[in-house]
């Protein structure tokens, strides 16, 4: 949230619209990609990559993580570490 002056907010609004367009395009892209006859592995990687890009856009711009304070970012890094551990360890049960 840079300054609260009217032009700063106007600029912010323009970025929000730009991000919206990007998200819409990426959605169409990911749906399109599902019609390509890719192997399951490749499809997973591609779909998750596109979803991650969309997610980062929402998080950075809409959720203002781009300009967020250190303490919130530290909290999120901690949550993401345990998220990844929780995501993969159970399915590696047989390793």
């Amino acid at each position: 949230m840079s300054g609260h002056s009217p032009e700063a907010i106007k600029k912010e609004v323009r970025t929000y619209v730009a991000v919206f367009v990007a998200l819409a395009v990426l959605t169409v892209l990911t749906v399109g990609a599902s019609y390509l006859k890719l192997s399951l592995g490749a499809a997973i990687l591609l779909a998750l990559f596109i979803a991650s890009v969309k997610g980062t856009l929402v998080a950075a711009y809409f959720m203002h993580l781009r300009t967020e304070k250190k303490i919130v970012l530290a909290l999120l890094v901690l949550a993401v570490i345990f998220f990844v551990v929780l995501l993969f360890y159970p399915s590696w049960h047989h390793l």
Binding site: I71, A79, F82, Y89, P90, W92, H93, H94, L95
Partner: protein, 578 residues
């Protein structure tokens, strides 16, 4: 509205004591409810001990009070025994110790120790308590539903829990309430500790109790939601007949199990459950370590030995507690690499516990130790937690776990940590902060009359369990006499049961002391123990808003016996010269 506008005039009774938003009233509500559930869970255990000591013999006097579904002619039925076992675990952990340690002590002491007027979100704090209360009522009521309460252990392993009677659904819904209560509570604790510290109170000047509650809150915040997810999945399995935890082709008492499409995985529940349950056991021990260090510093009249070592150990312990959970699952056909990983992390996590225990013991060196009642409990915590921690070593190595898994050795191990460990620390905390909550002191003689028998009896109960465990006696056995390898240890069962009942009697001095002292206890000023932390600068009991003038902190939490000072304690908020 930053603060209730209605504070101008006196609140109605129900707003002041029932639906209060004052962290102290909520803390006392949590503590009293927690103590009641601890007593209820203790009674369940005393019933189990009758069946273990004298299997199949009718329970005298109260035997015929129970319904036919529980006891026939005073002889306990196996399903009722399993209900007692499952609910003893659930009630003691989720309804007794955690609400008392985190809800009670955390809510009451933490804002006072950081010089805050209240929790950051008072209304959220009230909601947390009432969610906990509802969860407790559901758990208590589940005994009276058809089929009785949950009976698949406090761990509720699938598929047994999925095909269990309706009490299991009540258990899951009750757990959902308890999970969300702790979750909202942890948000409150984190924001309060970070945002509302008094001026001058940097993180390196925080009392260790606040550090332990702060780390505990992160454990609650990040570990409980996966159990919520697991509870949702198990509820779907039980009510909508999905098959998350139900493999294909199950055959239950002779018939193919209808209504389940199969394809699920029973080990999935264990992963999600233990992902919570291991941080949960650290939620049980960290606040206890916090209470113990406060009391040791105050009663040795000197600063703690290694404050930095303690803080780094508790933070490292909190982090590691998230990546050790599968040492509960060594024998579920886990792969060698994963099993090696969890063994290594389990060994690593034992180091900070050893550092904390050693540091607390070294804090006695050079002190002037006063053997007050809280100090007795705190000192007893050290060897007891020592045994609890050490008996975890053989269980942490999967080769030794082959023989010891799911035996009474495990029961002895975790009870040593929780019973003479955490619960002794909670008793110490009650004796220590009772004057702050009521302005009166608990009777010293009754305190010692409560301490010495309890200390001896705790060891009479849990040491024999370790011996039974080595003999390979399995846990959760309704009638141990069925197994030849358990028969030689049966006299130990009788000894344990009698000690358990005597331990029940040994709590009477505490109960009498607790209620008697509220009205008749010796009046005290605001700092009876001459301690240095901030809560002792507020009046006893502190008014709403806690401090008359907002405290400013000038030094660390344990400035005792500072050379060149008149008193042997230098409170954190006192100006330069005292």
């Amino acid at each position: 509205m930053s603060h209730d506008a209605s504070h101008g005039h006196e609140l109605p009774f129900w707003r002041k004591y029932i639906f209060s938003v004052d962290h102290k009233v909520i803390g006392i509500q949590y503590a009293v409810t927690g103590l009641l559930f601890l007593f209820f869970g203790f009674c369940l255990m005393m019933l189990m001990r009758w069946q273990l000591a004298y299997p199949g013999q009718p329970l005298p006097f109260i035997g015929n009070l129970f319904s036919e579904t529980a006891m026939i002619g005073g002889i306990m039925l196996p399903e009722f025994y399993n209900q007692l076992g499952a609910m003893h675990g659930t009630i003691m952990v989720f309804l007794g110790v955690v609400p008392l340690a985190v809800g009670g002590f955390g809510n009451f002491v933490l804002p006072l120790q950081i010089g805050a007027p209240d929790m950051a979100f008072p209304k959220l704090n009230m909601v947390s308590y009432w969610l906990y209360f509802t969860g407790g009522v559901l758990m208590f009521a589940s005994f009276f539903v058809p089929g009785g309460a949950a009976q698949s252990g406090w761990t509720s392993y699938a598929p047994l829990s999925v095909i269990a009677s309706s009490g299991q659904t009540w258990w899951l819904v009750g757990m959902a309430f308890l999970i969300n209560s702790s979750l909202l509570g942890s948000i409150n604790f984190i924001v309060t500790t970070v945002q509302l510290r008094a001026p001058g109170l940097s993180f390196s000047r925080l009392p260790f109790f606040v550090w332990s509650q702060f780390v505990t809150s992160f454990l609650l915040l990040l570990a409980f939601p996966p159990l919520m997810a697991a509870a949702v999945l198990q509820l779907m399995d039980r009510l909508a007949h999905t098959s998350f935890f139900m493999p294909s082709g199950l055959v239950v008492n002779g018939q193919v199990l209808e209504g389940f499409a199969g394809g699920g995985n029973a080990v999935l529940w264990q992963h999600l459950f233990w992902f919570l349950a291991h941080p949960e056991v650290y939620v049980l021990i960290l606040p206890a370590m916090g209470i113990i260090s406060e009391i040791i510093a105050c009663n040795t009249r000197k600063p703690l030995y290694g404050y930095k070592a303690l803080v780094w150990s508790v933070v490292f312990l909190g982090f590691m507690s998230f990546i050790v959970w599968a040492h509960h699952m060594y024998l579920t056909g886990m792969g060698p690499n994963l099993s090696a990983f969890f063994q290594v992390t389990t060994m690593i996590i034992s180091i900070p516990s050893i550092v904390i225990l050693t540091t607390l013991i070294l804090s006695l060196w050079g002190g002037s130790i006063r053997f007050t009642t809280p100090m007795l409990f705190a000192l007893a915590f050290l060897p007891m937690f020592g045994i609890g921690g050490l008996t975890g070593l053989p269980l942490g190595l999967n080769a030794a776990d082959i023989h010891l898994h799911d035996t009474y050795y495990v029961i002895g191990h975790f009870h040593y940590v929780v019973a003479p460990g955490t619960i002794f620390a909670l008793f110490a905390g009650i004796y220590h902060w009772f004057p702050k909550a009521t302005g009166r002191q608990m009777n010293n003689f009754l305190g010692k009359l409560h301490f010495w028998p309890s200390f001896v009896l705790m060891n009479f109960i849990f040491m024999p369990m370790l011996i039974q465990g080595l003999a390979g006696v399995s846990r959760r056995l309704y009638d141990p006499m069925q197994y030849a390898h358990a028969q030689p240890t049966q006299p130990l069962n009788v000894f344990i049961s009698i000690s358990a009942w005597c331990l029940g009697l040994a709590q009477i001095p505490f109960i009498v002391n607790f209620f008697w002292s509220i009205f008749k206890g010796k009046k005290t000023d605001q700092n009876p123990w001459q301690a240095t932390t901030l809560e002792w600068t507020a009046p006893s009991p502190p008014p709403h808003g806690n401090f008359v003038k907002e405290p400013v902190v000038y030094r660390g939490p344990y400035e005792y016996s500072v050379p060149g000072q008149k008193n042997d304690f230098w409170p954190q908020a006192m100006k330069e010269n005292n």
